[in-house]
């Protein structure tokens, strides 16, 4: 990315410092003072000098100090330290050189800078980290070109309802910008680019303003519904001396309490669930903490009802007898009461969509099934981007944080469950347990098909990985598109086993977000694993450099089907619809000729690389070597040449 290039007027900053120090009298003399600089200046073209020019030429030159003892950036770092940031991910840029310098020297690199070779990596790392660690990471970038790079990742974080604390550099005052790059890297309202998918933004005009907005931004970001926030930091504010240190105060960050739903509405929900013959719970981004999963288990076990986990978070244990995620149609077809908690797309969950020439939908539920939603999604919406999905009619829409509201709902349910119901519930639970076991046995049987084939089946790939990590404290933090084998067959039994997907389906999420989650896992000694689509990795392969540079242990297992495979299938469908044959569907959709050697790419970035693994018999030894590297603190990558899905 283009950074600040040498300006013809390289003395701009020094002038600005002197202007601040010398007081208001000197502010009227920019041209004269600039003319004191060493760099050549173009000749003035005004034919007749105006009063300002006359003043410039008749007043003595202002002071031009070359040192200062503090900067606004120092104070900004003090503020950031109160916000409990462990890391700040960035790609360096001149528009925030003031706070960057303050951070590494005055702040002693706390929060620790993560050097990212693309802003999209920085935001996605923050997204993955926040979901695993339960608190935001800060990121910083240029206010124009850097933010443009960051914007797709911010959209993913927005759709995923994850707090990311974005700061950008900007030069607000036009007369303070150097000619050239500083002008193209400045904007009147830089946040306008991303305002559709941030929850709040501000461009502080003083250090006290910054302090208050910085704390406010943090509070807003972590209050459900969580989302990215943005602060635009004026370069002058960052770089100039602190004019009034004694007058500055950093406000205290309030403890944020997520909103609990109305107890009357929860009591009504409890009545409906308890009285139902076949209640069903569906959830997506429910569990914010480990308590979320425990509470959902308690509710489901109290009711002995099936849970459909859309896997936006680690909501429900995969091997729990009441986990019927892969029996969606069977379960919903019988349901008489459906409770959707923190659902991203309730319509999509209870309807089937047909992607044919005439696109249609049909409900997969019974006509008289009652639908209740509980979540914070309705509390904060925006209009332009359509991530809210199609409108779903429901019988009761309860606004409130799912995890925070579950204790009251569980209590209300327990009050209503008598012994007679308990007996019926147990019978229901036994049936559900048997149906789930049958599903698992069927999945295992399906997994055997093509077991020794090359390219390697995704079932074999996943089974080989699990065989080597199952006795470790593992954490799967990334997955390839529609790879269902882990959630069908692995034992996801703790909060850190999984952390959801991209949110906005923006390709380029998986590699850096997985790395952010791995960074969070590092301090807990967990073995982090990510299945990594090749198309996604091709967006930001330089993520591997950040992994190596910061010694973040993670095992990337590349699901290398050598295609943007979903698009390959779409193109095939379009061509077949037109009866044009499908021989050309690979054009523009495959990643071949040449095939990418991801192990060599990894090694080039300083990451342990294995592969390409083509023969399934070679996979276990390659994984063993890679996992040994990860356990020694290194990132590692195993390139597995796979069948499409």
């Amino acid at each position: 990315m283009s950074k600040r290039r040498q300006s013809p007027d390289s003395s701009r900053r020094n002038f600005l410092k002197s202007a601040t120090l010398a007081g208001a009298a000197t502010l009227a003399a920019p041209v004269a003072v600039a003319a004191q600089g060493n760099a050549p200046r173009p000749a003035l073209k005004a034919a007749v000098p105006g009063p300002r020019q006359v003043a410039v030429e008749t007043q003595p030159p202002s002071k031009d100090p070359v040192n200062q003892s503090s900067s606004g950036g120092d104070f900004m770092v003090d503020v950031l330290k109160t916000l409990d940031f462990d890391y700040l991910a960035m790609n360096c840029a001149s528009s925030f050189r003031g706070i960057h310098e303050a951070l590494v020297n005055y702040g002693k690199n706390q929060p620790e800078i993560l050097t990212c070779p693309h802003e999209e990596i920085a935001v996605h790392m923050a997204q993955g980290y926040a979901k695993m660690e339960g608190k935001p990471m800060a990121m910083m970038c240029h206010g124009t070109v850097g933010l443009q790079h960051a914007s797709m990742a911010m959209y993913n974080a927005w759709c995923d309802r994850v707090p990311v604390y974005v700061m950008i550099g900007n030069i607000v005052e036009a007369n303070k910008r150097a000619p050239g790059v500083e002008w193209v890297h400045s904007a009147i309202d830089p946040a306008a680019l991303v305002r559709d998918f941030v929850k709040w933004d501000d461009q502080p005009t003083s250090l006290q303003h910054f302090a208050e907005s910085a704390v406010r931004a943090y509070k807003i970001a972590v209050t459900p519904p969580m989302a990215p926030v943005l602060l635009s930091l004026d370069a002058e504010l960052q770089e100039n001396p602190i004019p009034d240190p004694e007058g500055l105060r950093i406000p205290r960050l309030s403890r944020v309490v997520p909103p609990q739903a109305d107890t009357g509405a929860l009591a009504e929900t409890a009545k409906m669930l308890v009285a139902a013959e076949n209640p069903v719970i569906i959830c997506d981004r429910l569990a914010r903490t480990a308590a979320g999963m425990a509470r959902l288990v308690e509710l489901a076990e109290t009711l002995q009802c099936p849970v459909l986990d859309m896997q936006g978070r680690m909501n429900f244990p995969s091997r729990h007898p009441l986990n019927h995620t892969f029996r969606r149609d069977a379960v919903l077809g019988q349901a008489d009461v459906i409770l959707g908690i923190e659902m991203n797309d309730m319509f999509g969950a209870v309807n089937a969509f047909s992607d044919r020439i005439v696109r249609t939908t049909r409900s997969v539920t019974k006509k008289d099934a009652k639908i209740i939603t509980l979540g914070v999604r309705d509390l904060y919406m925006k209009a332009n981007y359509q991530d809210f999905g199609r409108y779903q009619e429901v019988d009761l829409a309860i606004a409130g944080d799912g995890e925070a509201s579950l204790p009251a709902l569980i209590e209300a349910v327990k009050r209503l469950v008598d012994l007679g119901r308990q007996s019926a519930y147990e019978a229901r639970g036994k049936k559900l347990g048997a149906a789930r076991l049958a599903m698992v046995e069927r999945a295992k049987s399906d997994a055997t098909i093509g077991w020794d084939a090359s390219p390697i089946t995704t079932a074999r790939m996943c089974a080989e990985v699990y065989a080597q990590i199952r006795n470790e404290d593992w954490s799967l933090v990334g997955n390839a598109i529609r790879n269902t084998w882990p959630h069908k067959l692995w034992n996801f039994d703790q909060a850190h086993r999984w952390n959801g997907g991209s949110g906005g389906a923006g390709v380029g999420y998986n590699a850096p977000a997985s790395l952010g989650a791995a960074l969070a896992n590092k301090r807990h000694g967990r073995l982090t694993v990510a299945f990594q689509g090749d198309g996604d990795l091709m967006m930001v392969p330089n993520t591997l450099w950040t992994a190596a540079h910061h010694r973040i242990p993670i095992l990337y297992v590349v699901h290398n089907n050598r295609a943007y495979h979903q698009e390959y299938m779409y193109l095939q469908a379009m061509a077949a619809r037109l009866g044009r044959g499908i021989e050309n569907a690979h054009i523009g959709t495959t990643i071949t000729d040449p095939n990418v050697d991801y192990a060599t790419v990894a090694r080039g970035f300083g990451v342990h690389g294995e592969g390409p693994v083509v023969d399934p018999k070679d996979l276990a030894p390659a994984l063993t070597r890679a996992i040994a590297a990860v356990k020694s603190g290194q990132p590692a990558l195993v390139d597995v040449v796979t069948d499409p899905r």
């Binding site: 149609d329 089937a352 969509f353 047909s354 992607d355 044919r356 046995e441 069927r442 295992k444 049987s445 399906d446 997994a447 055997t448 098909i449 093509g450 077991w451 084939a453 390219p455 089946t457 079932a459 089974a463 080989e464 699990y466 065989a467 199952r470 529609r482 269902t484 067959l489 495979h565 390959y568 299938m569 095939q572 469908a573 061509a575 077949a576 619809r577 009866g579 044009r580 044959g581 499908i582 021989e583 569907a585 069948d643 499409p644 899905r645």
Partner: protein, 123 residues
């Protein structure tokens, strides 16, 4: 669930995926499995259904085809006029003989093994 999914699912529920009904397969017109394999791979059947006929995912799960218990007529009907999101293959793109060859190929696939014989599937 679509008609094709229902047929496949019914086969799965009956445990029939690896136990193809010989009578049904024998009802199919004569097909060349080797030629069928070439078409299956060249014409992109594998894209959704896997090179081993293990199934996959398009907009939803794509049924496994290895040793499908589906009669040939049903198989051909699904290719010509699919009831779900599967693309339709007209005769101009894929002849009846091509379909017969593909059918012979998927019947020749090894299909399901015994999961209990694979230790790592039982962890």
């Amino acid at each position: 669930m679509t008609r094709f999914h229902l047929v496949a699912a019914a086969a799965l529920l009956l445990g029939a995926g690896s136990l193809a009904t010989p009578g049904r397969a024998q009802d199919a017109p004569s097909g060349d499995a080797a030629k069928g394999k070439r078409i299956y791979l060249a014409d992109g059947c594998f894209v959704c259904h896997g090179r081993s006929g293990q199934g996959g995912a398009y907009n939803g799960p794509s049924p496994l085809l290895a040793k499908t218990p589906m009669p040939f007529d049903g198989f051909k009907g699904q290719v010509r006029a699919p009831s779900n999101d599967m693309p339709a293959y007209s005769e101009a793109v894929m002849s009846d003989q091509d379909i017969a060859d593909i059918y012979a190929f998927v019947q020749s696939l090894s299909g399901r093994g015994n999961a209990k014989d694979i230790a790592i599937l039982n962890d």
